[in-house]
Amino acid sequence: MKLDRRLFLSTTAATLAAPMVLGQGRPRVVVIGGGAGGATAARYIAKDSEGAIDVVLIEPTRKYYTCFFSNLYLGGLKEIEDIGHTYGTLAAAGVNVVHDWAVGVDRSARQVSLAGGGVLTYDKLILSPGIDFVEGAVDGWDITAQNAMPHAYKAGSQSELLKAQLMAMPEGGTFAMVAPPNPYRCPPGPYERVSMVAQFLKANNPTAKIIVADPKSKFSKMALFQEGWADHYVGMVDWIGADFGGANVSVDPGAMTITIDGEVTSVDVCNVIPAMKAGRIAELAGVTSGNWAPVNAADMSTKADPDVYVLGDAASQGDMPKSGFAANSQAKVCANAIRGALTGSRIFPAKFSNTCWSLIGTDNGVKVGATYEATDEKIAKVDGFISQTGESSELRKATYQESEGWYAGITADMFG
Protein backbone atom coordinates (compact mmCIF):
# COMPACT_ATOMS: atom_id res chain seq x y z
CA MET A 1 0.00 0.00 0.00
CA LYS A 2 2.98 2.35 0.23
CA LEU A 3 2.89 3.15 -3.46
CA ASP A 4 -0.81 3.91 -3.27
CA ARG A 5 -0.32 6.44 -0.53
CA ARG A 6 2.26 8.28 -2.54
CA LEU A 7 -0.16 8.40 -5.44
CA PHE A 8 -2.90 9.80 -3.19
CA LEU A 9 -0.75 12.72 -2.28
CA SER A 10 0.27 13.55 -5.81
CA THR A 11 -3.15 13.38 -7.46
CA THR A 12 -5.56 14.86 -5.03
CA ALA A 13 -4.70 18.48 -4.48
CA ALA A 14 -7.39 20.29 -6.41
CA THR A 15 -10.62 18.42 -6.11
CA LEU A 16 -13.31 18.73 -3.63
CA ALA A 17 -14.99 22.03 -3.04
CA ALA A 18 -17.61 21.99 -5.80
CA PRO A 19 -19.17 18.52 -5.46
CA MET A 20 -20.39 19.16 -1.94
CA VAL A 21 -22.60 22.03 -3.03
CA LEU A 22 -23.87 20.51 -6.25
CA GLY A 23 -25.72 17.60 -4.66
CA GLN A 24 -27.90 19.48 -2.23
CA GLY A 25 -31.56 18.58 -2.31
CA ARG A 26 -31.15 15.52 -4.48
CA PRO A 27 -30.38 12.03 -3.18
CA ARG A 28 -26.73 11.24 -3.67
CA VAL A 29 -25.08 8.04 -4.78
CA VAL A 30 -21.34 7.83 -4.21
CA VAL A 31 -19.49 5.28 -6.32
CA ILE A 32 -15.97 4.28 -5.30
CA GLY A 33 -13.90 2.96 -8.20
CA GLY A 34 -14.32 3.89 -11.87
CA GLY A 35 -13.68 0.50 -13.45
CA ALA A 36 -15.92 -2.10 -15.05
CA GLY A 37 -18.44 -2.12 -12.21
CA GLY A 38 -18.24 1.46 -10.91
CA ALA A 39 -18.13 3.38 -14.19
CA THR A 40 -21.08 1.37 -15.52
CA ALA A 41 -23.15 1.90 -12.38
CA ALA A 42 -22.40 5.64 -12.29
CA ARG A 43 -23.26 6.05 -15.95
CA TYR A 44 -26.53 4.12 -15.77
CA ILE A 45 -27.78 5.86 -12.63
CA ALA A 46 -26.97 9.30 -14.03
CA LYS A 47 -28.42 8.55 -17.46
CA ASP A 48 -31.61 6.86 -16.28
CA SER A 49 -32.41 9.20 -13.40
CA GLU A 50 -32.10 12.21 -15.73
CA GLY A 51 -30.66 14.44 -13.04
CA ALA A 52 -32.88 13.29 -10.17
CA ILE A 53 -29.90 11.63 -8.49
CA ASP A 54 -26.55 13.27 -7.79
CA VAL A 55 -23.95 10.71 -8.84
CA VAL A 56 -20.39 11.15 -7.58
CA LEU A 57 -17.69 8.82 -8.90
CA ILE A 58 -14.45 8.63 -6.95
CA GLU A 59 -11.52 7.30 -8.97
CA PRO A 60 -7.87 8.23 -8.44
CA THR A 61 -6.59 7.63 -11.96
CA ARG A 62 -7.36 10.00 -14.78
CA LYS A 63 -7.03 7.24 -17.30
CA TYR A 64 -8.33 3.72 -16.74
CA TYR A 65 -6.42 0.98 -18.52
CA THR A 66 -8.59 -2.08 -18.97
CA CYS A 67 -7.13 -5.35 -17.77
CA PHE A 68 -9.21 -6.88 -20.54
CA PHE A 69 -7.09 -6.90 -23.70
CA SER A 70 -3.96 -6.08 -21.65
CA ASN A 71 -2.69 -9.55 -22.56
CA LEU A 72 -3.18 -8.66 -26.23
CA TYR A 73 -0.94 -5.67 -25.58
CA LEU A 74 1.72 -8.07 -24.22
CA GLY A 75 1.30 -10.21 -27.33
CA GLY A 76 1.88 -7.23 -29.62
CA LEU A 77 -1.69 -7.01 -30.94
CA LYS A 78 -2.58 -3.74 -29.15
CA GLU A 79 -0.81 -0.54 -28.18
CA ILE A 80 -1.10 0.54 -24.56
CA GLU A 81 -3.20 3.55 -25.57
CA ASP A 82 -5.71 1.25 -27.27
CA ILE A 83 -6.75 0.09 -23.79
CA GLY A 84 -6.76 3.49 -22.01
CA HIS A 85 -10.02 5.35 -21.33
CA THR A 86 -10.65 8.77 -19.78
CA TYR A 87 -13.65 10.01 -17.80
CA GLY A 88 -14.56 13.13 -19.78
CA THR A 89 -17.62 11.66 -21.47
CA LEU A 90 -18.96 10.38 -18.16
CA ALA A 91 -18.50 13.82 -16.64
CA ALA A 92 -20.29 15.42 -19.59
CA ALA A 93 -23.15 12.97 -19.05
CA GLY A 94 -23.70 14.32 -15.55
CA VAL A 95 -21.48 12.11 -13.41
CA ASN A 96 -19.51 14.18 -10.92
CA VAL A 97 -16.06 12.62 -11.37
CA VAL A 98 -13.72 13.23 -8.45
CA HIS A 99 -10.13 12.14 -8.99
CA ASP A 100 -9.16 11.12 -5.50
CA TRP A 101 -8.84 8.03 -3.31
CA ALA A 102 -11.53 7.06 -0.85
CA VAL A 103 -9.69 6.35 2.38
CA GLY A 104 -12.50 5.71 4.82
CA VAL A 105 -16.22 4.95 5.09
CA ASP A 106 -18.25 5.84 8.15
CA ARG A 107 -21.42 3.84 7.64
CA SER A 108 -23.27 5.22 10.64
CA ALA A 109 -22.74 8.81 9.46
CA ARG A 110 -23.08 7.73 5.76
CA GLN A 111 -19.84 9.46 4.91
CA VAL A 112 -16.87 8.72 2.69
CA SER A 113 -13.60 10.45 3.42
CA LEU A 114 -11.12 11.21 0.70
CA ALA A 115 -7.33 11.32 0.73
CA GLY A 116 -7.48 14.97 -0.33
CA GLY A 117 -9.34 15.80 2.88
CA GLY A 118 -12.91 16.04 1.59
CA VAL A 119 -15.89 14.27 3.11
CA LEU A 120 -18.92 13.21 1.07
CA THR A 121 -22.26 12.16 2.50
CA TYR A 122 -24.29 9.55 0.63
CA ASP A 123 -27.74 8.05 0.52
CA LYS A 124 -26.42 4.96 -1.23
CA LEU A 125 -22.81 3.88 -1.56
CA ILE A 126 -21.42 1.60 -4.27
CA LEU A 127 -17.99 0.04 -3.88
CA SER A 128 -16.33 -1.38 -6.96
CA PRO A 129 -12.65 -1.15 -6.02
CA GLY A 130 -11.47 -4.30 -7.77
CA ILE A 131 -8.77 -6.36 -6.10
CA ASP A 132 -5.75 -6.09 -3.86
CA PHE A 133 -3.25 -8.84 -3.13
CA VAL A 134 -3.20 -11.04 -0.05
CA GLU A 135 -0.06 -10.22 1.90
CA GLY A 136 2.46 -13.03 2.20
CA ALA A 137 0.66 -15.12 -0.42
CA VAL A 138 3.80 -15.91 -2.42
CA ASP A 139 6.86 -16.64 -0.31
CA GLY A 140 9.53 -14.01 -1.06
CA TRP A 141 7.23 -11.52 -2.81
CA ASP A 142 5.52 -8.41 -1.51
CA ILE A 143 4.25 -5.26 -3.18
CA THR A 144 7.70 -3.62 -2.94
CA ALA A 145 8.96 -6.36 -5.29
CA GLN A 146 6.45 -5.49 -8.00
CA ASN A 147 9.06 -3.79 -10.15
CA ALA A 148 11.49 -6.71 -10.12
CA MET A 149 8.66 -9.21 -10.44
CA PRO A 150 5.54 -7.50 -11.80
CA HIS A 151 2.01 -8.81 -11.32
CA ALA A 152 0.51 -6.84 -14.23
CA TYR A 153 -2.84 -7.79 -12.76
CA LYS A 154 -3.87 -4.16 -12.50
CA ALA A 155 -3.33 -2.76 -15.96
CA GLY A 156 -1.30 0.33 -16.92
CA SER A 157 2.27 0.88 -15.78
CA GLN A 158 2.53 -2.72 -14.56
CA SER A 159 1.55 -3.99 -18.02
CA GLU A 160 4.11 -1.71 -19.64
CA LEU A 161 6.79 -2.92 -17.24
CA LEU A 162 6.08 -6.58 -17.93
CA LYS A 163 6.10 -5.92 -21.66
CA ALA A 164 9.46 -4.12 -21.42
CA GLN A 165 10.92 -7.03 -19.47
CA LEU A 166 9.55 -9.51 -22.00
CA MET A 167 11.12 -7.55 -24.85
CA ALA A 168 14.46 -7.37 -23.04
CA MET A 169 14.70 -11.12 -22.42
CA PRO A 170 17.99 -12.64 -23.61
CA GLU A 171 17.87 -15.12 -26.43
CA GLY A 172 16.69 -18.48 -25.11
CA GLY A 173 15.78 -16.92 -21.74
CA THR A 174 13.14 -18.01 -19.25
CA PHE A 175 9.81 -16.34 -18.47
CA ALA A 176 8.23 -17.62 -15.25
CA MET A 177 4.71 -17.08 -13.99
CA VAL A 178 3.33 -17.76 -10.55
CA ALA A 179 -0.40 -18.32 -11.10
CA PRO A 180 -2.94 -17.46 -8.38
CA PRO A 181 -5.22 -19.75 -6.35
CA ASN A 182 -9.04 -19.52 -6.70
CA PRO A 183 -10.98 -17.29 -6.53
CA TYR A 184 -9.26 -14.55 -8.49
CA ARG A 185 -9.88 -11.88 -11.13
CA CYS A 186 -10.39 -13.32 -14.62
CA PRO A 187 -10.08 -17.12 -14.38
CA PRO A 188 -8.64 -17.55 -17.91
CA GLY A 189 -6.43 -14.41 -17.57
CA PRO A 190 -3.13 -16.06 -16.58
CA TYR A 191 -3.46 -18.65 -19.37
CA GLU A 192 -4.36 -16.12 -22.02
CA ARG A 193 -1.26 -14.28 -20.82
CA VAL A 194 0.89 -17.41 -21.24
CA SER A 195 -0.50 -17.70 -24.77
CA MET A 196 0.24 -14.08 -25.64
CA VAL A 197 3.73 -14.22 -24.13
CA ALA A 198 4.35 -17.41 -26.12
CA GLN A 199 3.12 -15.73 -29.28
CA PHE A 200 5.52 -12.83 -28.71
CA LEU A 201 8.45 -15.14 -27.94
CA LYS A 202 7.76 -17.43 -30.87
CA ALA A 203 8.12 -14.44 -33.19
CA ASN A 204 10.99 -12.70 -31.41
CA ASN A 205 12.85 -15.18 -29.24
CA PRO A 206 11.84 -18.67 -30.36
CA THR A 207 14.23 -20.63 -28.14
CA ALA A 208 12.90 -18.96 -24.97
CA LYS A 209 10.91 -20.97 -22.42
CA ILE A 210 7.87 -20.32 -20.24
CA ILE A 211 7.44 -22.00 -16.84
CA VAL A 212 4.15 -21.69 -14.96
CA ALA A 213 3.95 -22.62 -11.28
CA ASP A 214 0.28 -23.12 -10.48
CA PRO A 215 -1.32 -23.90 -7.12
CA LYS A 216 -4.32 -25.37 -8.97
CA SER A 217 -4.59 -28.73 -10.68
CA LYS A 218 -7.01 -27.47 -13.30
CA PHE A 219 -7.96 -24.10 -14.72
CA SER A 220 -10.48 -22.26 -16.87
CA LYS A 221 -10.62 -23.40 -20.54
CA MET A 222 -7.77 -25.79 -19.73
CA ALA A 223 -8.32 -28.19 -22.62
CA LEU A 224 -8.55 -25.29 -25.08
CA PHE A 225 -5.38 -23.62 -23.86
CA GLN A 226 -3.40 -26.85 -23.67
CA GLU A 227 -4.46 -27.79 -27.17
CA GLY A 228 -3.41 -24.33 -28.38
CA TRP A 229 -0.04 -24.45 -26.64
CA ALA A 230 0.71 -27.88 -28.10
CA ASP A 231 -0.31 -26.75 -31.59
CA HIS A 232 1.28 -23.32 -31.76
CA TYR A 233 4.05 -23.14 -29.19
CA VAL A 234 5.59 -26.61 -29.35
CA GLY A 235 7.82 -27.37 -26.36
CA MET A 236 7.74 -23.78 -25.11
CA VAL A 237 5.27 -23.92 -22.21
CA ASP A 238 5.96 -25.98 -19.09
CA TRP A 239 2.86 -25.82 -16.88
CA ILE A 240 3.49 -27.22 -13.39
CA GLY A 241 0.18 -27.77 -11.63
CA ALA A 242 -0.54 -28.63 -8.00
CA ASP A 243 -0.08 -32.34 -8.66
CA PHE A 244 3.54 -31.70 -9.61
CA GLY A 245 4.44 -29.28 -6.81
CA GLY A 246 3.20 -26.07 -8.45
CA ALA A 247 1.77 -24.85 -5.15
CA ASN A 248 5.09 -25.20 -3.37
CA VAL A 249 6.72 -22.06 -4.69
CA SER A 250 8.92 -19.22 -3.51
CA VAL A 251 10.67 -16.41 -5.35
CA ASP A 252 13.75 -14.30 -4.76
CA PRO A 253 13.35 -10.96 -6.51
CA GLY A 254 16.96 -9.94 -5.72
CA ALA A 255 18.51 -13.06 -7.20
CA MET A 256 15.80 -13.43 -9.88
CA THR A 257 15.15 -17.05 -9.02
CA ILE A 258 12.03 -19.12 -8.56
CA THR A 259 11.96 -22.28 -6.48
CA ILE A 260 9.31 -24.82 -7.42
CA ASP A 261 8.99 -27.85 -5.19
CA GLY A 262 12.60 -27.46 -4.07
CA GLU A 263 14.11 -26.91 -7.51
CA VAL A 264 15.73 -23.50 -7.99
CA THR A 265 15.62 -21.94 -11.46
CA SER A 266 17.16 -18.65 -12.61
CA VAL A 267 14.68 -16.64 -14.61
CA ASP A 268 14.79 -13.52 -16.76
CA VAL A 269 11.21 -12.41 -16.16
CA CYS A 270 9.00 -13.45 -13.27
CA ASN A 271 5.32 -12.55 -13.39
CA VAL A 272 4.00 -13.11 -9.87
CA ILE A 273 0.19 -13.10 -9.63
CA PRO A 274 -0.52 -13.51 -5.92
CA ALA A 275 -3.74 -14.59 -4.21
CA MET A 276 -6.34 -11.81 -4.23
CA LYS A 277 -8.85 -10.14 -1.98
CA ALA A 278 -11.38 -7.33 -2.28
CA GLY A 279 -9.90 -3.86 -2.79
CA ARG A 280 -8.87 -2.51 0.61
CA ILE A 281 -11.61 0.11 0.86
CA ALA A 282 -14.22 -2.68 1.12
CA GLU A 283 -12.44 -3.95 4.20
CA LEU A 284 -12.16 -0.41 5.62
CA ALA A 285 -15.90 0.00 5.09
CA GLY A 286 -16.45 -3.09 7.22
CA VAL A 287 -18.44 -4.98 4.60
CA THR A 288 -16.04 -7.89 4.01
CA SER A 289 -16.07 -11.32 5.56
CA GLY A 290 -12.73 -13.02 4.98
CA ASN A 291 -11.25 -11.78 1.71
CA TRP A 292 -14.44 -10.68 -0.07
CA ALA A 293 -17.67 -8.76 0.50
CA PRO A 294 -20.80 -10.96 0.64
CA VAL A 295 -23.74 -9.45 -1.25
CA ASN A 296 -27.43 -10.12 -1.86
CA ALA A 297 -27.97 -11.34 -5.40
CA ALA A 298 -31.18 -9.38 -6.03
CA ASP A 299 -29.52 -5.95 -5.94
CA MET A 300 -25.82 -6.38 -4.98
CA SER A 301 -26.40 -4.77 -1.56
CA THR A 302 -24.02 -6.06 1.06
CA LYS A 303 -25.07 -8.48 3.76
CA ALA A 304 -23.57 -6.00 6.21
CA ASP A 305 -25.49 -2.84 5.19
CA PRO A 306 -28.52 -2.42 2.89
CA ASP A 307 -27.30 1.03 1.75
CA VAL A 308 -23.83 -0.15 0.75
CA TYR A 309 -23.44 -2.17 -2.46
CA VAL A 310 -20.41 -4.04 -3.78
CA LEU A 311 -19.88 -4.83 -7.45
CA GLY A 312 -17.42 -6.81 -9.49
CA ASP A 313 -14.30 -8.55 -8.30
CA ALA A 314 -14.62 -7.41 -4.68
CA ALA A 315 -18.00 -9.09 -4.20
CA SER A 316 -18.66 -12.61 -3.03
CA GLN A 317 -21.87 -13.29 -4.93
CA GLY A 318 -22.07 -16.93 -5.92
CA ASP A 319 -21.47 -18.45 -9.32
CA MET A 320 -20.28 -15.57 -11.53
CA PRO A 321 -16.56 -15.39 -12.35
CA LYS A 322 -14.70 -12.21 -11.45
CA SER A 323 -14.74 -10.61 -14.88
CA GLY A 324 -15.28 -7.20 -16.43
CA PHE A 325 -18.35 -8.51 -18.20
CA ALA A 326 -19.75 -9.77 -14.88
CA ALA A 327 -19.00 -6.48 -13.09
CA ASN A 328 -20.75 -4.56 -15.88
CA SER A 329 -23.74 -6.90 -15.70
CA GLN A 330 -24.02 -6.61 -11.91
CA ALA A 331 -23.75 -2.82 -12.16
CA LYS A 332 -26.91 -2.57 -14.25
CA VAL A 333 -28.95 -4.66 -11.84
CA CYS A 334 -27.65 -2.55 -8.96
CA ALA A 335 -28.29 0.74 -10.80
CA ASN A 336 -31.90 -0.23 -11.49
CA ALA A 337 -32.47 -1.19 -7.85
CA ILE A 338 -30.85 1.96 -6.44
CA ARG A 339 -32.72 4.27 -8.77
CA GLY A 340 -35.96 2.54 -7.77
CA ALA A 341 -35.17 2.91 -4.08
CA LEU A 342 -34.29 6.61 -4.38
CA THR A 343 -36.82 7.85 -6.94
CA GLY A 344 -39.63 5.28 -6.94
CA SER A 345 -38.89 4.15 -10.51
CA ARG A 346 -39.74 0.56 -11.45
CA ILE A 347 -37.44 -2.18 -10.24
CA PHE A 348 -37.12 -5.16 -12.56
CA PRO A 349 -35.93 -8.68 -11.70
CA ALA A 350 -32.17 -9.20 -11.55
CA LYS A 351 -30.66 -10.89 -14.60
CA PHE A 352 -26.98 -11.42 -15.11
CA SER A 353 -24.77 -12.71 -17.88
CA ASN A 354 -21.12 -13.22 -18.67
CA THR A 355 -18.97 -14.13 -21.64
CA CYS A 356 -15.19 -14.27 -21.46
CA TRP A 357 -13.24 -14.39 -24.70
CA SER A 358 -9.58 -15.42 -24.64
CA LEU A 359 -6.97 -15.29 -27.35
CA ILE A 360 -4.67 -18.28 -27.82
CA GLY A 361 -2.84 -16.86 -30.85
CA THR A 362 -3.54 -14.39 -33.64
CA ASP A 363 -7.07 -15.03 -34.93
CA ASN A 364 -7.48 -17.98 -32.56
CA GLY A 365 -10.18 -16.91 -30.11
CA VAL A 366 -12.20 -19.04 -27.69
CA LYS A 367 -15.03 -18.14 -25.34
CA VAL A 368 -16.99 -19.33 -22.35
CA GLY A 369 -20.25 -17.83 -21.14
CA ALA A 370 -23.25 -18.27 -18.91
CA THR A 371 -26.45 -16.63 -17.73
CA TYR A 372 -27.38 -16.26 -14.10
CA GLU A 373 -30.32 -15.36 -11.88
CA ALA A 374 -30.72 -14.12 -8.33
CA THR A 375 -31.76 -16.65 -5.71
CA ASP A 376 -32.15 -15.94 -1.98
CA GLU A 377 -28.79 -17.47 -1.43
CA LYS A 378 -26.59 -16.32 -4.32
CA ILE A 379 -26.20 -15.44 -7.99
CA ALA A 380 -26.91 -18.84 -9.48
CA LYS A 381 -25.90 -20.15 -12.89
CA VAL A 382 -28.79 -20.95 -15.25
CA ASP A 383 -27.19 -21.99 -18.53
CA GLY A 384 -23.84 -21.83 -20.27
CA PHE A 385 -21.58 -22.77 -23.18
CA ILE A 386 -17.88 -23.13 -23.96
CA SER A 387 -15.84 -23.30 -27.18
CA GLN A 388 -14.77 -26.78 -28.19
CA THR A 389 -11.35 -28.24 -28.94
CA GLY A 390 -10.72 -28.94 -32.61
CA GLU A 391 -12.81 -26.03 -33.91
CA SER A 392 -12.12 -24.74 -37.42
CA SER A 393 -9.78 -21.80 -37.93
CA GLU A 394 -12.68 -19.84 -39.46
CA LEU A 395 -14.74 -20.22 -36.30
CA ARG A 396 -11.77 -19.29 -34.12
CA LYS A 397 -11.18 -16.18 -36.20
CA ALA A 398 -14.85 -15.21 -35.99
CA THR A 399 -14.68 -15.68 -32.20
CA TYR A 400 -11.67 -13.40 -31.98
CA GLN A 401 -13.37 -10.75 -34.12
CA GLU A 402 -16.41 -10.95 -31.89
CA SER A 403 -14.19 -10.18 -28.90
CA GLU A 404 -13.06 -6.99 -30.64
CA GLY A 405 -16.71 -6.03 -31.02
CA TRP A 406 -17.36 -6.82 -27.37
CA TYR A 407 -14.43 -4.65 -26.30
CA ALA A 408 -15.80 -1.69 -28.24
CA GLY A 409 -19.26 -2.35 -26.83
CA ILE A 410 -18.39 -2.73 -23.17
CA THR A 411 -16.03 0.23 -23.04
CA ALA A 412 -18.74 2.40 -24.62
CA ASP A 413 -21.20 0.98 -22.10
CA MET A 414 -18.86 1.88 -19.22
CA PHE A 415 -17.59 5.28 -20.26
CA GLY A 416 -20.28 6.55 -22.65
Binding site: R346, V382, D383, G405, A412, D413
Partner: protein, 93 residues
Protein backbone atom coordinates in the same frame (compact mmCIF):
# COMPACT_ATOMS: atom_id res chain seq x y z
CA UNK B 1 -45.88 -23.77 -41.17
CA UNK B 2 -42.84 -24.04 -38.88
CA UNK B 3 -43.55 -23.99 -35.14
CA UNK B 4 -41.45 -20.81 -34.76
CA UNK B 5 -43.86 -18.62 -36.69
CA UNK B 6 -46.68 -19.21 -34.17
CA UNK B 7 -44.38 -18.02 -31.42
CA UNK B 8 -43.42 -15.00 -33.48
CA UNK B 9 -47.07 -14.13 -34.07
CA UNK B 10 -47.67 -14.37 -30.33
CA UNK B 11 -44.77 -12.05 -29.62
CA UNK B 12 -45.87 -9.52 -32.21
CA UNK B 13 -49.36 -9.49 -30.69
CA UNK B 14 -47.92 -8.19 -27.40
CA UNK B 15 -47.54 -4.45 -26.87
CA UNK B 16 -43.95 -4.17 -25.70
CA UNK B 17 -43.28 -2.51 -22.33
CA UNK B 18 -40.73 0.17 -23.25
CA UNK B 19 -39.39 0.75 -19.78
CA UNK B 20 -38.83 -2.96 -19.19
CA UNK B 21 -37.29 -3.12 -22.65
CA UNK B 22 -34.85 -0.39 -21.75
CA UNK B 23 -33.75 -2.31 -18.66
CA UNK B 24 -33.40 -5.59 -20.55
CA UNK B 25 -31.51 -3.83 -23.34
CA UNK B 26 -28.70 -3.03 -20.96
CA UNK B 27 -27.67 -6.67 -21.29
CA UNK B 28 -27.43 -6.26 -25.06
CA UNK B 29 -25.34 -3.09 -24.97
CA UNK B 30 -22.43 -4.85 -23.30
CA UNK B 31 -21.61 -6.13 -26.80
CA UNK B 32 -23.87 -4.28 -29.26
CA UNK B 33 -22.74 -0.68 -29.18
CA UNK B 34 -25.33 1.71 -27.81
CA UNK B 35 -24.62 4.26 -30.55
CA UNK B 36 -25.86 1.67 -33.05
CA UNK B 37 -22.60 1.35 -34.97
CA UNK B 38 -21.35 -2.07 -36.00
CA UNK B 39 -17.84 -3.04 -35.05
CA UNK B 40 -17.44 -6.80 -35.59
CA UNK B 41 -20.77 -7.22 -33.74
CA UNK B 42 -23.83 -5.93 -35.61
CA UNK B 43 -25.64 -2.77 -34.49
CA UNK B 44 -29.22 -3.39 -33.32
CA UNK B 45 -30.40 0.13 -32.49
CA UNK B 46 -33.45 1.18 -34.52
CA UNK B 47 -34.36 -2.26 -35.85
CA UNK B 48 -38.01 -2.79 -36.74
CA UNK B 49 -39.75 -4.67 -33.92
CA UNK B 50 -40.79 -7.48 -36.23
CA UNK B 51 -37.23 -8.08 -37.44
CA UNK B 52 -35.89 -8.00 -33.91
CA UNK B 53 -38.54 -10.41 -32.66
CA UNK B 54 -37.95 -12.74 -35.62
CA UNK B 55 -34.20 -12.85 -34.95
CA UNK B 56 -34.64 -13.49 -31.24
CA UNK B 57 -37.24 -16.21 -31.82
CA UNK B 58 -34.89 -17.90 -34.27
CA UNK B 59 -32.05 -17.89 -31.74
CA UNK B 60 -34.38 -19.08 -29.03
CA UNK B 61 -35.57 -22.04 -31.10
CA UNK B 62 -31.92 -22.65 -32.09
CA UNK B 63 -32.79 -22.47 -35.78
CA UNK B 64 -30.28 -19.63 -36.01
CA UNK B 65 -26.75 -20.50 -34.90
CA UNK B 66 -24.68 -18.61 -32.34
CA UNK B 67 -23.94 -19.86 -28.83
CA UNK B 68 -24.05 -16.49 -27.06
CA UNK B 69 -27.27 -15.40 -28.77
CA UNK B 70 -28.93 -18.79 -28.28
CA UNK B 71 -28.11 -18.58 -24.59
CA UNK B 72 -29.31 -14.99 -24.20
CA UNK B 73 -32.51 -15.50 -26.20
CA UNK B 74 -33.12 -18.89 -24.59
CA UNK B 75 -34.15 -17.38 -21.32
CA UNK B 76 -36.26 -14.53 -22.66
CA UNK B 77 -40.02 -15.00 -22.52
CA UNK B 78 -42.37 -13.58 -25.15
CA UNK B 79 -43.11 -10.50 -23.02
CA UNK B 80 -39.41 -9.82 -22.75
CA UNK B 81 -38.70 -10.19 -26.44
CA UNK B 82 -41.64 -7.90 -27.19
CA UNK B 83 -40.32 -5.34 -24.70
CA UNK B 84 -36.84 -5.41 -26.22
CA UNK B 85 -38.18 -5.23 -29.75
CA UNK B 86 -40.32 -2.21 -28.89
CA UNK B 87 -37.43 -0.49 -27.14
CA UNK B 88 -34.87 -0.93 -29.91
CA UNK B 89 -37.43 0.15 -32.51
CA UNK B 90 -38.20 3.27 -30.45
CA UNK B 91 -34.56 4.32 -30.62
CA UNK B 92 -34.79 4.52 -34.38
CA UNK B 93 -37.53 7.10 -34.35
Amino acid sequence: MPAGSDVLADILAIKGDLEYGEYLASECTTCHRHDGTSEEIPGIVGWQAKDFAAAMSAYKSKSRAHPVMQMVAGRLGNEEIAALAAFFESLGR
